[in-house]
């Protein structure tokens, strides 16, 4: 056990173990110690989270229920409770912010905590680790455990907490850094996705340390000038652009919403209704955060008759800022979706609004029709703020029950979600 060099910055990465499943086990003692698979809703067939016990027997996030049941016949399958997870994340945020001044909620169940200013509060980072584990157990429950990774940068702090045993505290120092880099796969490296990891493997590079065995010229040739630099940093245990870029972004750049259904849609009216529903949720979030955007995107996914996964994507850059559901839906449905040749039934719909900027930074719009829409949107937002989302529904929803917002593990819309409960 060693403590961080006082001259180095000091980061803690806190990662709650098997978050969705652990909270459900905390809520229901009958589930504790049993293999639990969490699905999005009753009747769904994709495991979106698994308990520690299920993971130990090979059940992975994203696997199909029938495959999970083959591995673990006694698997207990429970629907997720997204609001419970978000409420717990708010409690976690309160715990972290009461313990250190600089906290970055990285995803629903992870946070980076800067300990550089807390050296008198916590003589060693290990002491912080012990105290944060204790507070989490006190406030969220005895079943809730977390990994704490400590290091002089975020890349290494996250890497060590990803690969350490459940409930552990581990520290990466300049002395043991290379041993860690030489022992983890790219799945544990923040900022390196599946495809990049696979490309590295094709070059014979299986761990971050092995990047050091590849020359700059080879990296440039294989990955281009940008990724060659970032990969070199990762190989040396330095933070790549991913971390600094996150902090430099003052507001969300894109807000999107996708929905995977439990059966395929081949009905035009159903697809239209879903697209409108998703668009309305996106636009409410955009206005709530005081933003407007210009880049409109739609994506559909399905399977053709041969069973092959098919995608269809289109996007459009609007000449003026978009703030209203009717404007965005007009582009999504009438302009983009209508150009689709309907080659396959749809299982997943996604809509996004990008090129977001604070609304105040756009030039004022002068069209009278736009101002009428703005008045309607403002009135609807007031109703929503008082009585909840979808209290007033557009006729485009055709009276169907609304698809309500969900929280994802990545917490991509964290600015909106974390401000919502406060």
């Amino acid at each position: 056990m060693s403590s961080a060099n006082l001259l180095l910055p000091s980061w803690a990465h806190v990662d709650i173990n098997s978050y969705f499943a652990t909270l459900l086990q905390q809520e229901n003692p009958a589930l504790r110690g049993r293999p639990v698979g969490v699905v999005k809703d009753a009747g769904r067939t994709c495991i979106i989270a698994a308990s520690k016990e299920a993971k130990a027997r090979g059940v992975a996030t994203g696997c199909l229920l029938r495959d999970a049941r083959q591995l673990v016949p006694e698997l207990v399958v429970v629907p997720a409770h997204f609001e419970m997870s978000l409420s717990a994340t708010k409690k976690l945020q309160a715990i972290f912010e009461s313990m250190a001044p600089r906290v970055d909620i990285f995803s629903l169940d992870e946070a980076f905590i800067d300990l550089s200013d807390c050296r008198t509060l916590y003589p060693t980072p290990w002491e912080f680790g012990r105290q944060v584990q204790q507070r989490i157990k006190q406030d969220l429950g005895e079943w809730v455990t977390c990994n704490v990774g400590l290091s002089y940068n975020r890349l290494l702090a996250k890497m060590t907490s990803e690969v350490s045993p459940k409930g552990s505290i581990t520290e990466v120092t300049p002395e043991n850094r290379d041993a860690l880099l030489a022992s983890v796969s790219f799945a544990a490296v923040c900022g390196v996705g599946y495809r990049l990891g696979a490309r590295l493997e094709r070059l014979g590079v299986k761990t971050p340390y092995e990047i050091n065995l590849v020359s700059d010229e080879e990296l440039q040739a294989a990955f281009g000038p940008f990724w060659a630099v970032q990969l070199r940093k990762i190989g040396q245990g330095e933070e790549p652009h991913f971390f600094t870029h996150q902090r430099a972004t003052p507001h969300m750049k894109t807000i999107g919403r996708s929905l995977t259904c439990w059966q395929v849609w081949d009905n035009e009216l159903a697809i239209k209704r879903v697209l409108y529903n998703l668009t309305e949720e996106v636009m409410y979030k955009v206005r709530k955060l005081g933003l407007a955007g210009r880049w409109v995107y739609i994506s559909l996914r399905g399977k053709d008759r041969a069973g092959q996964v098919q995608y269809w994507r289109q996007h459009f850059l609007a000449p003026h800022p978009i703030r209203h559901a009717s404007e965005m839906f007009d582009i999504i449905y009438n302009q983009l979706y209508q150009s689709w040749q309907r080659q396959f039934p749809v299982i997943k719909c996604s809509v996004r609004l990008g090129e977001l900027k604070p609304w105040a930074e756009f030039q004022p719009v002068l069209w009278p029709s736009w101002h009428k829409q703005e008045q309607v949107a403002t009135a609807l937002d007031k109703i929503t703020q008082k009585y909840g989302l979808f209290t007033v529904q557009s006729g485009a929803m055709m009276g169907a029950p609304p698809i309500r917002p969900e929280v994802t593990g990545f917490l991509g819309d964290r600015d909106y979600q974390l401000s919502r409960l406060s």
């Binding site: 909270l23 905390q26 809520e27 229901n28 003692p29 009958a30 409770h81 609001e83 419970m84 409420s87 717990a88 708010k90 429950g141 929503t384 703020q385 008082k386 009585y387 909840g388 989302l389 209290t391 919502r420 409960l421």
Partner: protein, 43 residues
């Protein structure tokens, strides 16, 4: 276990109450002060 819920200005609190082998999810509307039995887990 207590879960805070908020949709617009509607604030609710979900209490998960363990009684013997059962778990009851009780939803309390903090504005109207009404209680709803949302779900019961029993084996």
């Amino acid at each position: 276990m207590v879960t805070e819920l908020k949709d617009g200005g509607v604030r609710q609190r979900l209490y998960s109450v363990v009684v013997g082998p059962n778990v009851y999810r009780l939803l309390f509307n903090r504005d109207t002060e009404e209680w709803w039995l949302e779900e019961v887990w029993c084996e």
